[in-house]
């Protein structure tokens, strides 16, 4: 018997619909990680600052530590697991690899999801556009130069394809 503080959440994640009964206070990031096992979405600061938990909700980048799973009900979520795989990296993933846009890698899933948004908004971003678009993503290795280079390389590759 569900309690008054439980909710039924039904949403689509990486193209697959799923449904879980969870406490209403469950955050989307915990729903993804703990209910669905999609641990590519990271919890960094847990305070809407670092962007490690960035996912796409109906195609736009959001911070999943500051969205209730219940708020995401009925929406389409895309996580880092949903954009490519080892055999066929997404162009943004490939660019992070080719440009060494990561050191420890903790921020990388969120960075990749944020860069997808930047390129979706503007297929030909400038260096300044990329830096502004990454305002909500923090790399504590401070490897920003190569992250920006990766974003620009990804945009160029996606324009050519």
């Amino acid at each position: 018997m569900p309690s008054a503080t439980d909710v039924s959440v039904e949403l689509t994640v990486n193209g697959r619909s799923c449904r879980r009964e969870v406490p209403a206070r469950t955050l989307l990031v915990h729903f993804l990680r703990e209910q669905l096992g999609l641990t590519g979405t990271h919890v960094g600061c847990d305070t809407t600052q670092c962007g490690a938990c960035t996912v796409a909700m109906d195609g736009v980048a959001v911070k999943s530590c500051t969205v209730l799973a219940a708020q995401a009900g009925g929406h389409e979520i895309t996580t880092i697991e949903g954009i490519g795989d080892e055999g066929k990296l997404h162009p943004v993933q490939h660019a992070f690899w080719a440009e060494h846009g990561l050191q420890c890698g903790y921020c990388t899933p969120g960075m990749v999801m944020a860069v997808r948004q930047i390129i979706a908004d503007n297929p030909d971003p400038t260096d300044a556009d990329v830096r502004r678009g990454l305002a909500g993503n923090i790399c504590r290795c401070t490897g920003y130069q190569n992250i920006v280079a990766a974003a620009l390389a990804a945009a160029a590759a996606m324009r050519e394809s």
Partner: protein
């Protein structure tokens, strides 16, 4: 960090949201984009027993031209305010400032009404709406009323909204000279709250984080009205304010920033007009 337990209700209409609010009284909070309330709940600074999710009320998401004013639905997201061609043309201060809130992900979720109703003096948009002489429309069980921005912010996180009242619209009069604007925000990192911020529209000056509520720089405005030069008006910009001291800045430094930023903002607004 996980919020304290609550019961979750999703309202399908503004009327249903008001009914739920009446039913649950002071135990309930409205949840719009959640980017002010959820962080407070995660820190347990807020622990409502009931959440009324109004985030899907598309009836409250709009930007419409009413001739002398533009009406903006309370649930309009910062991203949509930032990218509104109507606002960019008629009230560029508001479109620009909405694009300075938080970061792209935050602007995809946060709403203009949520930012106003939250009543945080460090938020950007309340001071911007003060400088724009906006009016807020609230709906309660007893009907609809309009509250001038200057009477809305009462104290830290407290507004003129009564329990169970829902902010539905923000009405922004088109400025006499839309081009005469400036927005200055001093932060350490791009996404931070303003240590101090200044919004200028014509000769109205809104101050961010210079007291327990968003403020107008009354002394500086009076100096301008008396025909004094910008530098003299800026010199009195911190008079009548009561900024706090915290880890980011002392009170004296905030007062200094207010004087400097008001001077810059007035110069920029005049250079644009």
């Amino acid at each position: 960090m996980i919020p304290a337990s609550f019961a979750y209700h999703r309202a399908a209409s503004a009327d249903e949201a008001l009914s739920l609010a009446a039913e649950h009284g002071e135990d309930a909070k409205f949840l719009a984009g959640g980017h002010s309330l959820l962080p407070l709940m995660k820190l347990r600074f807020a622990a409502p027993e009931v959440i009324i999710d109004i985030g899907r009320l598309s009836e409250l998401s709009f930007i419409t031209d009413e001739g002398s004013a533009i009406r903006i639905g309370a649930l309009t997201r910062h991203h949509d305010v930032e990218h509104s061609e109507l606002l960019a043309r008629e009230i560029p201060l508001l479109a620009h400032a909405a694009g300075q809130v938080g970061d792209p992900q935050i602007r995809h979720r946060g709403t203009i009404g949520g930012s106003v109703a939250h009543g945080d003096p460090a938020s950007d948009l309340p001071a911007v709406l003060l400088a724009l002489d906006a009016t807020f429309v609230a709906r309660g069980r007893a009907g609809t009323r309009e509250i001038p921005a200057g009477e809305f912010f009462r104290s830290l996180f407290e507004t003129a909204l009564e329990p169970g009242e829902l902010l539905t619209e923000i009405v922004v009069p088109k400025p006499a000279n839309g081009a005469a604007w400036s927005f200055q925000k001093f932060t350490k990192r791009a996404i931070d709250w303003a240590i101090v911020g200044v919004a200028v529209q014509d000769d109205r000056i809104g101050l961010i984080n210079m007291g327990s509520v968003p403020l107008r720089a009354g002394r500086a405005e009076a100096a301008l009205a008396a025909g004094e030069p910008v530098a003299d008006a800026a010199a009195v910009a911190a008079e009548g304010t009561s900024p706090g001291s915290d880890i980011h800045a002392s009170r004296a430094y905030r007062e200094h920033l207010a004087r400097v930023l008001v001077g810059r903002a007035l110069e920029e607004a005049r250079s644009r007009s």
